[in-house]
Every structure is written in structure tokens, then in C-alpha cells.
């Protein structure tokens, strides 16, 4: 197996048995395998390095989140059947009270005047 093919396999991360055997006997490919492992290790470690966000990102996120939360609450109210039933009951009660008041006034004309 030639070094070029072995190194191609090394960088796929899936060297076969032949490549592994070659690496054992070839110092150049062994060094390349080592570079690959080092690079993989450092790449994996990057996950723990946090970037510094723009200064205004935090406040922008909180503002957006606040608006979205209010929108959620509004929609929750609008789509909640209990709220609608409550509103309907309140409207019915108000209508009933209006009718009663109107009847009383009609029964006592001096109140209308």
C-alpha cells in the first residue's frame, strides 16, 4: 500500500487493516496519523471554547423573548375555551341585568322620565 493511499484513508478517519499495518512500519504515515489524531482532539475541544457575542445580543434576545412571551400569553387566552365560556357567561349575565333594569324602568315610568 502506498503512502498516498494510506494518508487518504487516515483523513477519512476509517483506515482499514492494510493502512494500519502500513502505519506501523512507515514513520511518515505514523506522523500523519498522529497529526490526524491531534487535529480530531483539538476540533472536539473547540466545543468548549465559547465565542464572545456582540454586546447588544443579550438585550436583543431578552426584548424579543419578552414580546414573544406576551404573544404566547395572548394566544393562550384567545384559544382557551374556558376563557371564551367565561366571557360568554359574563356577556349573558350583563345582558340579563340590562333586560331586568329595562323592565324595572318600564314598570316605573317616573324612572324613564
Amino acid at each position: 500500500m502506498e503512502c498516498r493511499e494510506v494518508q487518504r484513508l487516515l483523513w477519512t478517519g476509517e483506515p482499514d487493516g492494510g493502512a494500519a499495518a502500513h502505519v506501523d512500519t512507515c514513520p511518515l504515515c505514523r506522523a500523519e496519523a498522529k497529526r490526524f489524531e491531534q487535529l480530531r482532539r483539538v476540533l472536539g475541544g473547540l466545543q468548549h471554547d465559547l465565542a464572545t457575542p456582540p454586546a447588544d445580543l443579550e438585550s436583543a434576545l431578552l426584548t424579543l423573548a419578552g414580546r414573544t412571551r406576551l404573544r404566547n400569553l395572548r394566544e393562550a387566552v384567545l384559544h382557551n375555551p374556558r376563557v371564551w365560556q367565561g366571557a360568554a357567561a359574563a356577556a349573558a349575565a350583563a345582558a340579563a341585568v340590562s333586560v331586568l333594569v329595562a323592565r324595572r324602568r318600564l314598570a316605573r315610568p317616573e324612572l324613564v322620565a
Binding site: R4, D49, L57, R69
Partner: protein, 200 residues
């Protein structure tokens, strides 16, 4: 297991539930605890700060919108990173990338004294970050998902909507480009372990 489940966010028990149930302070706390790692993922995927900030905002709006129906508080880290990932990949399909240098804060060890330590040095990681940011989108997303965040080949291929075979090809090319960039920046790293010069 997805990479995102390996990401540790400092989220105290009950915080997600309180945020979900409408507690404003809990929601703000949840965002403050998670936005920086989320922004970092966006920056690594998109390669420039402006796009990353925009994607992070979009991701958190989607998160807050969906939060009332979120029923797995323990999976919050996986969830928010998945949202960020989706937003970034969708945006990248829509727009061309602007070349702006990445700004990463790296807080670790001092400068190296030999080649063995070089690969763990701050300078090496900074150069690697630059090299990742300079990759074409198709290579950068593959190497970030697969090698930085540890997704399996199948998971990364599924996220990117490509075949496992295409993923392997892109990954191989991306790694080689990173290798070449690092060798250019640190010629001593391209030297064979026994002192011989590399021949690739």
C-alpha cells in the same frame, strides 16, 4: 446519541418548567444561561458574527414560541441546539456567506514549548478556528457538526440532507484543508515524528 445532548448547559432543575409556565424571570434566566453556547454554535456554522447573531435571535424566538408545548425539560440543551442548527442551515441555504473574521474568546493554556504541545496550544486553536471559518459552507458545516460537536456520520448527513457517502467525501476534504492551513501556519507541525519532513 446526538452531539447536542453532550453539550452541558447550566440549567437548574425546574427552570425550564417555570419558563414554560409563563414565569418571565425564569425565561430570562434560561436565555442568559444558554445564549452564549448557542451563539458559538451559530458562529461556527455560519462563519461570521453578524449572521450568527441574527440566527441566534431567530432561534430563541422560535424556542420561546414553542416553549409552552415543550414537554421534555431535561432535553432543553439538545432542543435549543437543534433549533440553532436548523436555523443556521436554513439561512445558509438561502444566502451567500460574507467573509468576516471570526472572533472567538479562547481561555486556556499558555504558548507551547514543543511540537507535541503545539496542538494543544492557544495559538493552534485560534489558527484552527480561522481555518474553519475560511472553509466553504459545505465543508465547514460538515466538520463543525461531525468533528467539533461530535454528531455521528448518519446524524450529520441527516441534518445536512446529504448522503453518508457525500458526507464522507466532504469531511475528508474539509479535514485536509484544515490540515494544510495548519501546516502552513505551523510548519513544525508538518514535520514527521522522527524529524523527517512530511511528503504529502
Amino acid at each position: 446519541v446526538s452531539v447536542t445532548s453532550e453539550i452541558r448547559l447550566d440549567v437548574p432543575p425546574g427552570l425550564v418548567e417555570r419558563a414554560r409556565d409563563g414565569d418571565r424571570a425564569a425565561l430570562e434566566d434560561l436565555i442568559l444561561r444558554s445564549y452564549r453556547p448557542a451563539y458559538t454554535l451559530a458562529l461556527r456554522l455560519m462563519g461570521n458574527p453578524d449572521d450568527a447573531a441574527e440566527a441566534t435571535q431567530e432561534a430563541f424566538v422560535r424556542m420561546v414560541r414553542a416553549l409552552p408545548k415543550f414537554r421534555e425539560p431535561g432535553a432543553y440543551p439538545t432542543w435549543i441546539f437543534k433549533i440553532v442548527n436548523n436555523v443556521c442551515l436554513t439561512e445558509m441555504r438561502r444566502r451567500s456567506r460574507r467573509e468576516v473574521p471570526m472572533e472567538l474568546e479562547v481561555v486556556r493554556d499558555p504558548d507551547p514549548v514543543d511540537v507535541e504541545e503545539l496542538a494543544t496550544s492557544r495559538a493552534f486553536r485560534v489558527e484552527l478556528d480561522r481555518a474553519i471559518a475560511a472553509l466553504p459552507d459545505t465543508y465547514r458545516t460538515v466538520v463543525v457538526l461531525r468533528d467539533v460537536y461530535g454528531l455521528s456520520g448518519e446524524e450529520a448527513a441527516a441534518e445536512l440532507g446529504i448522503s453518508p457517502g457525500a458526507l464522507k467525501v466532504r469531511l475528508h476534504r474539509a479535514r485536509r484543508k484544515l490540515r494544510d492551513a495548519l501546516v502552513a501556519a505551523f510548519p513544525e507541525w508538518g514535520t514527521g515524528a522522527d524529524g523527517e519532513k512530511e511528503t504529502a
